[in-house]
Symmetry: C2
Subunit: 318 residues, 2 copies
Amino acid sequence: MQFYDDATIQQHYQMTDAIQDIKLLLKELNHVSHTERLVIPTGEGSQSMLYMPSIHFGKQMGMIKITSITPQNPTANRPTTQANIVITNIQTGEHIATIDASYLTRLRTGALSAIATEYLSRENAQTLGMIGTGGMAYEQLWGNIEVRNIQNVILYNRTYEKAIQFQKYIQDRFPHLNVLVSDNVNDLVVQSDIINCQTQSTQPVFNAKDIQKGTHINGIGSYRPDMVEIDYQILPNTSHVVFDDIEGVKKEAGEFIKANEEKIFCFEDIYGNLKSLIESSDLARSEDDITVFKSVGASYYDLAVALGAYHCLQTSIE
Amino acid sequence: MQFYDDATIQQHYQMTDAIQDIKLLLKELNHVSHTERLVIPTGEGSQSMLYMPSIHFGKQMGMIKITSITPQNPTANRPTTQANIVITNIQTGEHIATIDASYLTRLRTGALSAIATEYLSRENAQTLGMIGTGGMAYEQLWGNIEVRNIQNVILYNRTYEKAIQFQKYIQDRFPHLNVLVSDNVNDLVVQSDIINCQTQSTQPVFNAKDIQKGTHINGIGSYRPDMVEIDYQILPNTSHVVFDDIEGVKKEAGEFIKANEEKIFCFEDIYGNLKSLIESSDLARSEDDITVFKSVGASYYDLAVALGAYHCLQTSIE
């Protein structure tokens, strides 16, 4: 049994690795087994333990992601979400590694947005609007700039000071970017080619009327039926709506559940899952089309990055 | 995150610890949450991954046991069952330890038989008959000799040579015991005060007609509906039938499922679970009574020994 912590994984496994590994896994998805995630409530509200197993029969490797959700943690300066992955060789039955999965979870979610942006946004997209600058934001930004030639980033956060802190953080890491903070989300929306939302809002974080032609939207924040992040009034005006996992979105993504209930949008109207997106030979997206990607996560995406990172670590570290 | 391997746990956590920790947990069982185990088949027959989570709300600690079952492993000199436990502090959400659980699983199963023997066998029991001398046998014997003044041990195994090897193994460890190997299971049955069965047989491993008055029987081998270990014709002649977990036995223990179907025995006729056994103030067992304990395992027993071993390791190792 080997153990790898977040810091070690961050050194050896990057956004481009995650994007590549997820694309590969999507092509092999018929060799992957996963069950619904198991949830045990452990306290008030959303405090809980989540268990997400998945197995790659082609590679004869399996994993389970064990996640604790502790909403009161930020007041004690601890993260809300803490994740760990145990990897098992299913051919020999040996449990071969325990790896921190907090960075990997953020990275794979960034990679999912990256893949959506690569296929759904305009190729000449230059301005990225980021709504929400919390724990998931850095890897979301990273994913987008790996796949498009982003020049300008506009940040919006409910608490303005946190957006300012994040501006400094990313400016240090990506000095070539022109990073602005806006205190008005409408200004961000009208100027952005790509809008990336990472909030836990229960109200739409933008107004659908402000969305310009040709905009691509990624929504990765809402993960409960009571959450609404994307203004779902935009959905009738879109050309392509893509989910990371339709079964997950139907159960968890509040704005899509409501849109479907209110008949503003039907789940049957989606273009497809991420798998169909990367396998489509002709997307038929025109310059003016508005496109939407929604992610709630699924255990096979964790499997992709867990096995990918483990492989990288094995080959990089003597 | 700390990691402890089997060898380290074996040094610091013994049968008496496990017995004590399981008794304590049974008294606190209303503070423990557990779900049905999640099973993902990974190959032919019983090859699979098993996931068993459990949470102790009183201690604010949770764990999941991750078990691989690889039936073809013995031909490659690897164990069929390989288990690992991840322990989480649910108050802080921190994943604090990954511990090998192969020894702990054998130990807790031995401790379950020990508790049953302590409450259900005659106090003057001196002769222990062991049917099956495979991977689980050592801790089964160990459990029994912790709670009764056993003088004689009779071993029976389908493959005689393996019983001879096991005889040598336990004679080295417990030189005060008089250990015999029998090639005739009936001889073992008529001479034993306690019969402990640990096989994966699909046929009864003894004949009910041979069971003497006053005998106590532990059955820990059968864990699938197609398995039959205890000859269930004995059940109408018993005074007390006790399960480790009735829900588990109803789903998994082949001989009890069949006995119930054939109306030889009703699940409603059991004396109770192990919890009711240790909480009973008056068992009303007479010298001639025949008693039966059946174990299939449950995640809260793993929780008991996982938290117990973790605590022992924390206090023993600087």
